[in-house]
Symmetry: C2
Subunit: 588 residues, 2 copies
């Protein structure tokens, strides 16, 4: 009664090549190295799950557990979303014999540069039922097999594989005036099969041996599992009956997709962690919740900072297609335990913050200390009359971008530089008691910068330490943006576009070819650009790149290997352009 089932299981449990996985996950996704030490936060894990996680009498589950990463399996689920199964071994608080490995750029070090990838966010035309896929020239020339340009309309069929190893067949043709690369036949099927919509991204990855894979990054609509993708009609079909009756009833097709991480597995992990037994967690890097397995050195470094209300900070946010990161600035309004009832000892969400751009990040009330970077200089919060935040919201008046969607927010992965254990404090011994006592619910009064470290920090670092103040370069008030359009006081042209035909598909779902996403907060590229032209954000930079060999304006192919400690006080701009774990990752 067991044969056959095994093979099925293996199909769905098959793990991906780590390089491929990282290419699809996006440049900002960093996984901790094997054997490195991390803090596991059950609280954060719970946010990662769908539904409410009830730990029961969770007094015995500590807010954080020091663990060693014993294994990582790189997986993809049924929706082609990549996730990782991280196996963790809890360490004794005084377990000093486990050497934390230094930063390792690639988990599979020998695979560096093995793959080339290109990411493109789908336009309306790309995801239209009737349309093909407009292939950026660079993608075609870098990733796709070469065409025979001697003929008038060169074309070929290419058959990339998805994360599950399934092949898809696309007709790749170079035609039109001016000439351009297109995927025609087969593309529409792919779009329907994968249920892609405008705003989703596809990643073409070429391995060293020439094999081509195609991955998917879905636009983040909601947060942390239980995602209910909007209904997507594959072929709306002529409906005589309904037009004849004017009825629009029916024709709905709900997709009751389940959450990615189940509450029970979180509880199970928490209990195992509490009892010191090895356990495994599933981590969805694109789930828009902060990672809950954080490099121990990063946590320590962050908790050494004497956070207090009034402090200025900046935080990196990735663009929706992972092509850029954007830094947002804010002020700490209060330092207090986020959930004193259930997690009185937790630094998770310790910082209550006010953003310089409250409209865009209005629902990000709390951030983790290790996700932000303290800045010593406070740029003027100048809301220019030409680009006020309020005015920007006019572009959000479309239903799909309404304020009601700007509801919940968690934070994406922190760039690796934050986790760099080469920070001055990586030598701090691991002496955190797994089950902390004392240190109940501390709350610092607002604007009490002289208050000393609160109980949390002292409990995290009970032995002698020096408060650490990172020395950052002055923030660049003018910003340092690429791709920013300046002449956009008017409605941008893409707001006026309409879908051809009468398809009932996702017509009104996403009119924005480029989205920027912060947890559940979806921002258009336009908004980002407009914001960029203000003075209240720091800068952004390329992460993945629109690599156009004939257009170097502001772009360079980023190579990995160059790393700087983001807190070393001098490498700011380098950090912004850093791309340090994917050999060549290119993007549009």
């Amino acid at each position: 009664m067991e044969s056959g089932r095994e093979s099925l299981k293996k199909i769905s449990e098959k793990s991906l090549d780590p390089q491929l996985w990282h290419a699809i996950a996006g440049g900002m996704v960093q996984m901790p190295p094997i054997n490195s030490k991390v803090f596991y936060f059950p609280q954060g894990h719970a946010e990662h799950a769908k539904g409410n996680v009830d730990f029961g009498n969770s007094h015995r589950i500590p807010a954080f557990v020091l663990c060693k990463v014993s294994a990582i399996r790189y997986m993809a689920d049924a929706d082609d979303e990549v996730y990782a199964k991280i196996r963790l071994i809890p360490l004794k608080p005084d377990d000093l014999d486990v050497e934390d490995v230094g930063y390792v750029p690639n988990n599979g070090a020998e695979n560096i540069d093995k793959m080339t990838s290109f990411t493109k966010t789908l336009t309306q035309s790309d995801s239209n039922n009737g349309g093909g896929f407009s292939v950026p020239r660079y993608c075609a020339e870098t990733i796709f097999p070469p065409l025979d340009y001697s003929v008038s309309m060169p074309f070929q069929f290419m058959c990339p594989k998805d994360v599950h190893g399934e092949s898809y067949r696309f007709r790749h043709i170079y035609r039109g005036t001016p000439r351009r690369h297109l995927l025609t036949t087969g593309w529409s099927d792919f779009v329907n099969c994968k249920k892609l919509v405008a705003g989703d991204s596809v990643v073409f990855v070429k391995a060293e041996n020439g094999d081509i894979c195609v991955g998917i990054r879905r636009a983040k609509k909601t947060i942390g599992g239980a995602q209910e993708y909007p209904s997507r009609w594959n072929h709306p079909g002529g409906n005589n009956g309904s037009s004849q009756f004017g009825g629009v009833v029916g024709r709905n097709c709900k997709n009751y997709s389940r959450g990615k991480v189940r509450a029970e597995s979180v509880v199970e992990a928490g209990n195992l962690a509490a009892s010191g037994q090895p356990f495994e967690v599933e981590y969805y890097p694109r789930a828009s919740t902060p990672e809950f397995c954080v490099r121990a050195s990063a946590v320590r470094a962050a908790m050494q900072i004497r956070w207090f209300a009034g402090m200025r900070f900046k935080m990196p946010i990735e663009t929706e297609d992972s092509s850029r990161i954007s830094w947002f600035m804010g002020t700490i309004s209060s330092v207090e335990v986020a959930d004193p009832t259930n997690w009185p000892d937790s630094p998770w969400g310790l910082l209550q913050v006010d953003w310089d751009e409250p409209d865009l990040l209005q629902n990000v009330k709390r951030v983790n200390p290790w996700l932000v970077e303290h800045v010593t200089t406070i740029p003027a919060i100048h809301v220019s009359p030409f680009s006020p935040a309020r005015k920007k919201m006019r572009f959000l008046q479309k239903p799909e971008l309404s304020l009601s969607q700007l509801s919940q927010l968690s934070l994406p992965f922190i760039p690796s530089n934050f986790l760099d254990s080469s920070s001055p404090f990586h030598y701090i011994p691991d002496t955190i008691p797994a089950g902390m006592q004392g240190a109940r619910h501390f709350q610092l009064g607002q604007y009490s910068p002289d208050l000393h470290l609160n109980g949390l920090q002292s409990s995290l670092f009970p032995i002698g330490f020096q408060p650490y103040y990172p020395v950052n370069p002055p923030a660049n008030p003018g910003g340092n943006f690429m791709n920013s359009t300046e002449n956009n006081e008017n409605i941008p042209y893409w707001m006026k576009m309409e879908t051809r035909g009468q398809t009932l598909k996702v017509k009104d779902e996403t009119k924005t070819p480029q989205l920027l996403l912060f947890g559940k907060v979806i921002l258009t590229e336009e908004q980002i650009s407009k914001t960029s032209s203000g003075e209240n954000r720091v800068s952004n930079g390329n992460l993945e790149k629109t690599a156009n060999p004939s257009d170097d304006s502001g772009s360079t192919v980023l190579q990995n290997g160059s790393r700087e400690n983001s807190t070393d006080g001098s490498g700011h701009s380098k950090v912004l352009g850093e791309l340090d774990h994917v050999g060549k990752t290119l993007s549009l």
Copy 2:
């Protein structure tokens, strides 16, 4: 960060009306009454899950745990598959104060006859992209709202709801020569939306208030979760490129649906059961694995039988659309513990069997004692030259019906009559030690009918008892079949049919309008009929009914309420026609 998530969860956690649930689940599905006693079998639960279940050091998990059913929630998952969440409270082995309730025909007794339902297995034409749904007359007249037959082509729009409460809009028209009922507009969308294929069934249910629901029973392709539905193209679309190249590559769209029950929840349930704590299990009645919560009285009755090698037995199997049950006969080849290493004390799969029709049930090596019925008369195993089993397999030479698919098998629910605690032994006290000692791996020699009860049986019934030998009527050697076609030595007409057009859809997937299913074993109605004309099966009978008021040939509308002890030696034929928990369940 919690708002909104709650509501999503509630949608997916909503439970169904028990009557509706039962109507969709099918007439053979019986749930134990609330407060009744059942044995919970972790081993069976594990078979219900996808993948391998590792109980770890499971020495402490008993093979069966006597429990009280404290609650049942009737649910439907994202695929519209119904399942139940059964809450169980382990009982102390000597817990005699818990009165086992007698058999209760309907869990919600007051709801009897509240609903009328009709089941139809989809034909190729029904599931064709271009086609509509041919509504059996009885369904239209019994379930659907009445049409105004005064006009020439009467039609209406009806909007049934699915298990999630979503409405679908179908045009119901009465037309053609001869006149017939059809669903046209909207049907195709429904098929695509629900990913229905030929062989799947739809169930129309009308509540007392006239509300109409539509449920789904998918054809069982594989066993116990991790089902990978065959690729279903929603709209294959014209593919100039591939026809021009003659290529059939690509155009595949795998659906990596997950297993229904996760291994972890099985382990969790087993541990809770072992420690005597209440727990909850998810049971998928259509998962083709035997139920793992079995009426205690049924287990006891079965274990009182002195099973031995050489015994003859019969077992009921349901047809794929739950419209009929079929009894297969076999001989016990050996009585031995199925998995002595992990479950040395378990009666699960105790009986090793040889089937009279080994081709059809070749992979059913073991059955549970409470799933079979001992027969005292051994009909001659006469393989007639006109309908030999080998010959029948000729019809399986199509790839979709090849022997390679006849791989694994578990067994469906036993009809309720087997569980009837009104059997002479329902008064046997519950004195089964939850953690049994002794009784390791007993194996009875083949054909040792005089051997006394083995250790398992004595451990299940440690106190005085009388071995129970059911007195059955002599098996009817000639069978008692309906719908059997005799003139099918030739290829049946449906084997010759071809799909119109060039759709790449499920063209070759299921050519059989009627399937009979045994776990993973799929049999056509033709095969069953041919088998029926042999002498080696006992009989079958209608369970759900093709209720045709103008054609009473061999059919009657079955009413619930009439119950007979299947082992009482006289009610055989009544049992076969029994339908005792759904008020009026009709089927095609």
